[in-house]
């Protein structure tokens, strides 16, 4: 295998370097734009990665920006929203059976649920939340209400009939957003 040792790569018609190579083995690319991403594909030159500003990484397809990691580390994408905007993630979720043999069907970032009694459950997170100021969504065949106890590591809910009686349900879904 042979090696070509150069410092920078520059197209003969370009005004500046296309790629700057340093002694640490890094390659630095020009900023590019959504219409002409600096890292792209031969044959599809308006799709790729570009750098819209300091500390930002942009993604383009078909010459339009479709996503970005902004300077604050937020991931932004369009995906039918109408513009590229920050997406707020579901940080934990669980689908469980609260009747008979209480069991978790599927989950993400949930280590366990605690069955505290009839219609009374605590969702325990595998990785703790950064604070307790998260938001939740819950569903069951009845009513799901916040029980009043939340922390960075757990969230407690109750399931009720529409008449207000604590009751177990066959399907309880909880999702945590932050």
């Amino acid at each position: 295998m042979s090696t070509v040792a150069v410092t920078n790569l520059k197209h003969e018609s370009a005004t500046g370097n296309n790629i700057i190579l340093d002694s640490s083995g890094n390659a630095a690319f020009a900023d590019g734009s959504a219409s002409t991403p600096s890292i792209t594909n031969d044959g599809d030159l308006n799709t790729g990665i570009f750098f819209p500003g300091a500390d930002r990484i942009g993604f383009a397809e078909g010459g339009a920006q479709c996503g970005e990691f902004d300077a604050s580390g937020n991931f932004q994408f369009n995906s039918g929203y109408g513009s590229v905007a920050t997406a707020y993630g579901c940080r934990a979720w669980v689908n469980f059976n609260g009747t008979g043999v209480v069991a978790i069907r599927a989950s993400g970032n949930v280590s366990s649920i605690t069955d505290n009694g009839t219609g009374d459950y605590t969702v325990n997170f595998t990785t703790a939340m950064p604070d307790a100021n998260y938001s939740s969504a819950g569903q069951s065949q009845g009513i799901v209400l916040f029980q009043g106890t939340s922390s960075t590591t757990a969230y407690r809910v109750n399931t009720y009939t529409f008449a207000g009686t604590l009751t177990d349900y066959g399907t309880v879904n909880i999702a945590i957003f932050r």
């Binding site: 469980f96 043999v101 978790i104 989950s107 280590s111 505290n116 009694g117 325990n124 595998t126 177990d168």
Partner: protein
Amino acid sequence: MNSRIIYPNDEGGVSIIVPAPECGLTIEEIAAKDAPAGKPYKIVDVADIPTDRTFRNAWEYAE
């Protein structure tokens, strides 16, 4: 997982920790993390937990 973790709760009943199958933790790790600090707990087989929950709030923790 076919195991459960039980401990006496503050309401005088028993709480049952149900592990998430895909969480990547062992039952012992879940017990250490999710059982309240200072509470005694036991790891039991799921078959030892009653499935008739009619009187669920009357269940008690047996040493």
